[in-house]
């Protein structure tokens, strides 16, 4: 009863806190920009009344607040004399994003490690029967691992760009960091759009199984069985559905902002680029935290889960224990009254040549 509760608290806590922190940071950083642009002059005058203002005060206020002038030079934002937003963005990245996200990700890893050590893995009740049922088809597994491999690569290259200067500069020196960062940037920009295709592929294969079903809210409110008792659910429980939809939402945000960032040839101005970067980095941190939780749960959290995505087949007792409605459906299909019992493994193997 306590182990399930802890698991839920860890996962949801990290998810929710990452989202909340991210939203707060975003609102605060944008709030600063608005405050600077709007009320700098009058506010200052109210505090320190000046009888004879500087003769150029109007000119420099206009110059600072993104009045767009004309210029003979062509280029993005060439007519903007002073771009104040850059300081807010730089401060967001250096003072909020880099330090805080490091703590968030470390905290997630630590919480999961503590949970894992204290609580251990949920075993299959009744042990393994040795009989298996198919859970993920070959196509589904290929799509999942394609997305997973891309995610890991993008995560590593992205984190190099984010934390490289903090963590690697002293280790490998300036040229070494330049080399690693150059490789990471090239890799990140090249594989980013591929992640979009992976998302579409996974969406197409899994969306119909992740729609709302009666019992999902109940499953969530009872913490997936953490608070005791047995919970029924279909092929995918509400936690897995949440993972699916958050992956799609985060993925859409991250691919969209990534495309804006890596195709500057459409004349995007700096404000759009800064906003895209903020979205991209915040979503990336939340996404990484969520996937760390997902990897932990899927490998260590519950025994017998990983084989669902590696071999595609799960033990019958695992199905009965964790997805009883789905188990009944699958087993019921196979055990029609008149037909003899079918050896499911041989049936599944023979199916290999066809796209399933």
């Amino acid at each position: 009863m306590n182990r399930a509760k802890t698991r839920l608290v860890c996962l949801f806590g990290s998810l929710v806190s990452s989202c909340l922190v991210g939203i707060t940071i975003f609102v605060l950083s944008n709030g600063q920009v608005v405050a600077q642009e709007a009320g700098a002059g009058p506010a200052r005058e109210a505090l320190h009344p000046i009888r004879v203002p500087h003769p150029g005060v109007g000119l420099w206020r206009d110059a600072r607040t993104a009045v767009v002038g004309t210029t003979q030079v062509s280029g993005v934002d060439a007519g903007v004399l002073i771009h104040s937003g850059g300081q807010d963005w730089r401060s967001f990245r250096a003072d909020l994003l880099v330090p805080k996200s490091g703590w968030i990700l470390t905290a997630v890893c630590l919480l999961l490690a503590v949970y894992g050590l204290v609580h251990g893995t949920i075993r299959i009740p009744g042990g393994r029967t040795g009989r298996t049922i198919e859970r993920n088809s070959l196509n589904q597994r290929i799509a999942h691992w394609f997305m997973a491999v891309l995610f890991i690569f993008l995560m590593v290259t992205g984190l190099v760009l984010l934390y490289g200067r903090e963590l690697l500069l002293d280790l490998v020196g300036a040229t070494g960091l330049g080399l690693i960062a150059s490789a990471s940037k090239a890799g990140h920009n090249l594989f980013g759009p591929l992640f979009g295709f992976a998302l579409v592929w996974v969406f197409a294969l899994y969306v119909r199984k992740n729609l709302y079903q009666r019992g999902d809210i109940d499953w969530l409110s009872k913490g997936g069985g953490f608070f005791g008792g047995h919970l029924s659910c279909g092929e995918f429980n509400a936690g897995e559905k949440l993972l699916f939809w958050l992956t799609m939402i985060f993925g859409l945000a991250i691919v969209g902002s990534g495309l804006i960032l890596s195709f500057p040839n459409f004349g995007q101005d700096r404000v759009l680029m800064e906003q895209s970067h903020v979205v991209h980095s915040l979503v990336a941190v939340a996404f990484i935290a969520m996937i760390i939780g997902h990897v932990f749960l899927a490998t260590q959290g519950v025994e017998g889960t990983f084989e669902a995505i590696s071999t595609g087949k799960v033990d019958e007792n695992w199905g009965r224990a964790h997805h009883d409605l789905w188990y009944a459906e699958v087993v019921g299909d196979q055990r029609a009254p008149q037909t003899p019992p079918v050896d499911r493994e041989r049936v599944a193997d023979a199916d290999v040549s066809r796209d399933s």
Binding site: T70, T71, A174, H277
Partner: protein
């Protein structure tokens, strides 16, 4: 130690773009890259002002602070320079810079901007002074020859001042004192167009 600064006197700038042209010529800068540009505010209306802007060589440079590979450095004269060999062309310095000084030669797909290029205060780069590598990558190193930046030297009206910050501000302060304040302008728009010619808060 002298701290090098630029100052563009908006009252004197006539938008001739000589500074822009001189810079491009001196350093053989390719198409699309503009280390210096002249921005005109309120073009065509009374109170029009032009200002020449390039890298301001900030004491606490935001570009240096945000660079993910830390390729910026500051010389003893306070000039902010960077190492093109390490630069990965990510564009962060361009987002952070208030003046839009960093420029990129390509704006092509998949973020392949190329190496960042910007005003060097005619001080070249990390290569050996006046070597052919330095000239090819960063342009001429006038400071090593004891000269000031070509843009300031070329300015037709001496609107653009470049050099030791103390000297530059002394010159500018002298000008302001000579010109007088907004209400008692001895010259400029107010003289030519009367009160209408001076947009509120736009003198000096």
């Amino acid at each position: 130690m002298a701290r090098m600064k630029f100052l563009c006197d908006a009252e004197r700038c006539i938008e001739c773009n000589s500074c822009v042209t001189a810079c491009k010529n001196e350093h053989d800068i390719p198409w699309g890259v503009n280390r210096r540009r002249v921005v005109t505010i309120n073009d065509g209306s009374p109170g029009e002002r032009s200002i020449s802007v390039a890298c301001m060589h900030c004491s606490d440079a935001p570009c240096a602070s945000v660079c993910p590979v830390d390729c910026f450095y500051q010389t003893e004269d306070g000039v902010v320079l960077h190492d093109k060999d390490i630069c990965i062309g990510c564009g962060y310095c361009f987002y952070a810079c208030p003046f839009g000084a960093p420029q990129f030669p390509n704006t092509s797909s998949f973020g392949s901007r190329g190496k960042m290029d910007k005003c060097t205060f005619c001080s070249g780069g990390p290569e050996q002074d006046s070597s052919s590598d330095e000239v090819r990558k960063y342009g001429r190193n006038r400071m090593a020859e004891g000269k000031l930046p070509i843009c300031a030297e070329m300015c037709a009206t001496k609107a653009l001042l470049g050099g030791d910050g103390d000297e530059v501000s002394n010159i500018y302060r002298e000008r302001i004192t000579y010109r007088g304040s907004a209400s008692s302008l001895a010259y400029g728009w107010g003289v030519a167009y009367g009160k209408k010619g001076v947009k509120k808060g736009y003198s000096q």
